[in-house]
């Protein structure tokens, strides 16, 4: 996770929804300062982190799927190759 960014209470009030979006979608954390001292923290919840991780995985699956379609057709299925490698000496 990225290091927490410090914002003043006024900045937090004026940009509250933007900070929430950055927290949810970019995983950013914020420390809200008042009179030069840390007062509150804003950070993504576990749900938001899980959703981000999940979205990243789904993107990876699509990338693999698209790439796999560029590969030549195999003369053996994955099951057949595995079977051959697993049972080679049987």
């Amino acid at each position: 996770m990225s290091q927490a960014q410090t914002v003043t209470a006024t900045e937090a009030r004026n940009n509250f929804f933007s900070l929430i979006d950055q927290s949810m979608f970019e995983g950013k954390s914020f420390i809200v300062e008042k009179n030069g001292r840390p007062w509150a923290e804003l950070r993504p919840s576990k749900n938001a982190l899980d959703a981000k991780k999940s979205a990243k995985q789904i993107k990876l699956f699509k990338k693999i799927y698209d790439f796999s379609k560029t590969l030549p057709k195999m003369d053996e299925t994955a099951v057949e190759t595995l079977r051959r490698l697993r049972h080679e000496n049987v």
Binding site: I58, F61, A78, V79
Partner: protein, 153 residues
């Protein structure tokens, strides 16, 4: 209906997906459904060996290039999987699965044994093995069956 927290997926499913077999679209939907649910993927550490070895064999047999192999391998390593070390206890259970299912080797049974040990669903693309292992571990499914099962989670 019994709810499961995790799935153990045989190497055959990953490899069919990586190599773009006709069922790869179904596997894509399956993987996507897993990540939209609260189910996690658990795998024996042996999966790494099988994936690397099989893809390496495809390079050796000149079916894919070394560059394609490297790319697939890097993508595989980015999969969010909980890896379990293959212990002797797990191998003992795999051996029992192997004897009961009349498998000549125990490789496939390492996955079904981990599934049983962790009270997970076992998924394989190998229909022949599935038919045998269902009699030993009843929570064994094909990709299509497992997909239907987890859609409701």
């Amino acid at each position: 209906m019994k709810m499961f927290n995790s799935l153990c997926i045989d190497a055959s499913v990953f490899l069919a997906f990586f190599l773009g077999e006709p069922n790869s679209k179904k596997i894509l939907s399956f993987f996507t459904a897993i990540h939209k649910s609260s189910i996690s993927i658990i795998e024996p550490s042996y999966l790494d060996v099988e994936i690397m070895s099989t893809l390496r064999n495809k390079v050796f047999c000149e079916k894919i290039s070394h560059l394609e192999y490297t790319r697939l391998l890097n993508d595989y390593l980015a999969f969010d999987i909980n890896i379990f070390q293959v212990s002797r206890e797990l191998l003992k259970l795999a051996n029992i699965h192997s004897v009961k299912s009349d498998q000549p080797v125990i490789y496939d049974c390492i996955y079904s044994a981990l599934a049983e040990d962790q009270k997970a669903i076992f998924v394989t693309a190998d229909d022949k093995f599935l038919k045998k292992i269902k009699k030993v571990y009843k929570h064994s499914y094909s990709v299509s069956e497992a997909f239907e099962l987890i859609k409701g989670y």
